[in-house]
């Protein structure tokens, strides 16, 4: 449980970091919150020759909200994003998902952008980015590029970040229209990797009829899975919608794997149940008059456990 030797770099600016990453290429790894990387190193599952510690790049420790969405810098901790009131008003799904990310002490240290780059198929933020159609900005010496969520995740624990590149920010766009969201999971213990998790967004028209229902899933596919379930719900109101049908459709469209915590069959069952629950809550939030025409519904009053969903 001790890492093999590596060279430690502590750049003081983004250009310096990019210089270093360019120089070390394939043999380099960015260290931000270290909540996944350090255990991987200690278990000798990876042995990069160079660690580029970006914790000195305080200019990347930001959460910026504007009319279109929320931009999160590479050094913003999960806890910073979770606590940010502007970000929550603009994109409620962020806080709804973040409070299911492990435990507070891990969220104090782990970064949102880092968890995206880690691309764990059970990561909550991968599902949030995917459902919102967000993007990640990647920088390298001499240039930057922006990659949409659909292209960013390439496999389990694999993202499209190239050697020499680093993710400098992620962008979570605001959902338009009368839209409510919800994020629920079933996990073995509080804060564990979910057996199944669902991020849902439901958009209503002015008559409170459903015009769009989409959901993103974690722990049931190698990369984040986004399903459009509108066909089972379109035209219904939150009171009359056939949520179970939406759940059935989602279950039909997922091919989860078994592991020691949940069989594939049980996971698919959770997809069925949690989809219905998440969509219903999202729709109710969307219908809340306080939401108006532009937002994802507030859930400030909800306590952690209430919002944990599966146990409601």
């Amino acid at each position: 449980m001790k890492p093999p030797a590596f060279r430690y770099h502590s750049p003081r600016s983004l250009p310096e970091a990019l210089d270093t990453l360019d120089a070390v290429g394939h043999d380099g790894k960015v260290l931000a919150g270290g909540q996944s990387l350090i255990p991987i190193l200690n278990m000798r599952l990876a042995a990069p020759g160079h660690l580029v510690d970006i914790n000195g790049l305080t200019e990347l420790a930001y959460v910026r909200t504007d009319a279109d969405g929320v931009r999160v810098g590479a050094l913003a901790r999960h806890a910073d994003v979770e606590a940010d009131a502007d970000a929550h008003r603009a994109v409620s799904l962020l806080r709804q998902g973040l409070r299911l990310v492990a435990h507070p002490v891990i969220r104090n240290r782990g970064t949102t952008v880092g968890s995206l780059v880690h691309a764990d198929p059970s990561g909550e933020m991968t599902a949030v980015l995917s459902l919102l159609g967000g993007s990640v900005e990647l920088a390298r010496l001499g240039g930057t590029r922006r990659v949409g969520a659909a292209d960013f995740f390439t496999g389990p624990l694999e993202s499209c970040v190239e050697p020499g590149e680093m993710a400098v920010s992620a962008y979570f766009p605001r959902l338009r229209g009368r839209t409510g969201t919800e994020f629920i999971e079933a996990a073995r213990r509080h804060g564990d990797y979910a057996m199944c998790g669902v991020a849902a967004a439901v958009t209503l028209d002015d008559d409170l009829r459903i015009v769009s229902a989409r959901a993103a899933y974690l722990s049931v596919s190698p990369v984040p899975l986004v399903l459009d379930l509108t066909e089972t719900l379109a035209g219904a109101t939150p009171d009359t919608a056939h949520w179970r049908a939406a759940g059935e459709l989602a279950a039909d469209r997922t091919e989860p794997d078994s592991d020691i915590h949940a069989t594939a069959e049980y996971r698919r069952h959770l997809v069925r149940v949690l989809t219905a629950r998440a969509l219903r809550t999202a729709a109710v939030r969307g219908a809340d008059p306080a939401v108006g025409g532009d937002g994802q519904g507030s859930d400030d009053q909800g306590s952690d456990d209430r919002e944990c969903g599966a146990r409601d």
Binding site: R189, H190, Y193, I260, E265, Y266, V273, L274
Partner: protein, 832 residues
Amino acid sequence: MTITEAPPAARKKAAPEPPAPRAVGSPLPRKEDLRLVMGEGRFLDDLGRDAYEAAFIRSPHARARVLAIDIGPALGVEGLIAVYTYQDLPGRLAEPLPMLIPHPGLTHGRTGYPLAKEYVNHVGEAVVMVVARDRYAAEDACEKITVEYEPLPPVVGIENAFRADELVHPDVPGNVAGHVVQETGDARAAVAAAPYSLELHLDIERSACMPMEGRGVFARWDVADGSLRIYSSTQTSSGVRAAVAAKLELPLLKVECVTPDVGGGFGVKIVHPWPEEVLVPWVARLLDHEVKWTEDRREHFISSAHERGQLQTVRVGFDGRGRILGLDVDILHDNGAYTQYGLIVPLITSTQLLGPYKPGAYRVEFRSLYTNTVMVTPYRGAGRPQGVYAMERTMDSIADHLGLDRADVREANLIRPEEMPYDHGLLFQDGRPLVYDSGDFPASLDKIKKLVGWDEFAAYREQARAEGRRVGIGLAAYVEGTGVGPYEGGHVQIETSGKVYVATGLTSQGQGHETVFAQVVADELGVAVEDVTVTTGDTRRMGYAVGTFASRAAVMSGNAIALAARGVRDKALRIAGEALGVAPRKLEIVQGVVRSRDDPAVSIPLGTVAVLSNPLRYAFDEASKAATQFGGTPDHSRPPVAEGDEPGLEAREFFSPPRATYANGVHAVIVETDPETAEITVLRYCVVHDCGHLLNPMIVEGQVHGGVAQAVGGALYERMHYDESGQLLNASFMDFLMPYASETPVVEIDHLETASPMNPLGIKGAGEAGVIPGTAAFASAIEDAEGFPITKMPIQPCELFRLRQRFEAGEIPPLRRRAGAPNNVDEELCQP
């Protein structure tokens, strides 16, 4: 100088002071906590900054032959000091590790070698030891060493072990390490003749102790003195000392073992010597340099010990009131690859299964089977959770079969208080008769029913069901033999400062011994708890000791220390009596001062008594002058130290009871199961607990809380996921799920204090109680919520989901009483 001179305060008009409050029985804060919460604890890995560090190459195969080891590529690793394999082991180190607890039924006991000789028998068995300047370099070297294996087909799972198509040890037929039968009466005939009978097939899986601090050992060799000091994170420093002295062929008096702060044990650290505990001291001597090994978490999962895995078959015969007439139990116990700790776990299961009940005629037979997995040794509860599970599942089945209330069936089978002492006619794990000394089991059952609201629950369940919720209640009772022998010792010494120093040989892993033993001494001696300092687990202070296990520390050391304190008190009163000219029986000790009961102004501090107890030639300070040859007013007709006496105000006593003392209790749990996701939530957890007199109620309750947390883990979360090739798939805290605080219920506790007649303090052990009936209670509650039998524990949501599917498909029979109407009497009681 007149030593009768008392301080001015004592000369004031002697208003009778109120008696000092007793320390025993008070929920005093723990003396050790300030040190621990300030980060000033001293654990194994805090020691030996400059020590060389060891790492081990461990078998990746469950069963294999070691063909070749190539250390060549490691030789260039910077910082490498030495590499050892079996071939390097000298003398007795090359022999198998000791068989700690022989038993006539253990016909084919086997232990491993410190480093694998030719075969490895589980993933994680140590093969190569690497020593380097630090652990980083040691692990670098491990990566470069190659071991060539010839993999052999492994035996994994109890059924496979019993089928014995493959043998773990080629010379152990049927994979059977041990086979024991105990019987009172003719149980099979009693079952056959009973009006009703049932057969149950039960399954309980492995878990493990998982202390937050793993194992670890640090050794320092003094070449000039030819002596060895070992620090080990152990539950028995005296055991480690003796084992290492034997293995390294050193005189016992040249070996010391000191236990630093230990971050939990729960049983796994009672096993000794671990391979590392003999190898690290050996290498320290060989290299004449400090050497340390600190276990990491993966090592702890695959190289220490597990517990609990059993398959049980119960045949029970009973009458129309649910009274058991005959009980015939067959247990297949998985002991893993080795039997270093003997048959203790299945022996406890087979005897403690009986709980507070009279079984009629009883027959129990167990086979302890080898598998190619980590060995099985006691984990808190030590075989009892399995036994209670078997018995309480049986009680629920009887109740269901007869349509009776589950608590009523238990009540009908209880041993009554007037039947104490109750002799079961069996031999317990200590080789002595299984005789219950105390307890009021009907009162315990009555208390839990009131605490949890047993009689009102049916209405609550109906109401919940109407709301679309599923809730269930379960209960389980246990009796725990605690405080087993052979003995422990206590040493109490009052220094001339008046401070009291206490030592006992058994070790502490966080139980609060520094506090409770100080409470005992404070009351016995009449001193303040703050003035008492307790040392445990240090062979320099107490060479004779057994260890901390079997809920025995308070019973064994607590009583030994009380006896020693009484010895010191007697001596202090005698010396003070001579000095004060007052008969000892007319003296008392209050707040560290010996004084006349008639005139408290006639007094002498205990520190001064300590001075007088040790006749001196040399004075070091003002106080000690009185004890020198020309000080005081000696009687020249007598020798300075009287015949039969010895200098010093100290005493050492041992406590060695003839038998164990038996604690008991009942747990009740209310669960809710999600009708859709099958997630299981604990709504309430209630405990009634009888460990005799409570030395420190807060510490006892803390013990219960911790035990309940482990019970929740064992029932709902923890298991060892071995695949068919013998790989442990969840050997990390990411996938081995212990309950967090968020999964652990608030524990509601009610106490019953029936004193034990087996020891001076009237106490019974409390360390393991919290964990024992948990799995049984949860199975009962989940069954109650779901309406079909639960026969396999632990249970996780995807398994409950699967059971529901099978139930709906008609593959599992419903309970005879329908869930939701549990107390309805079924009219069709079927005869066998």
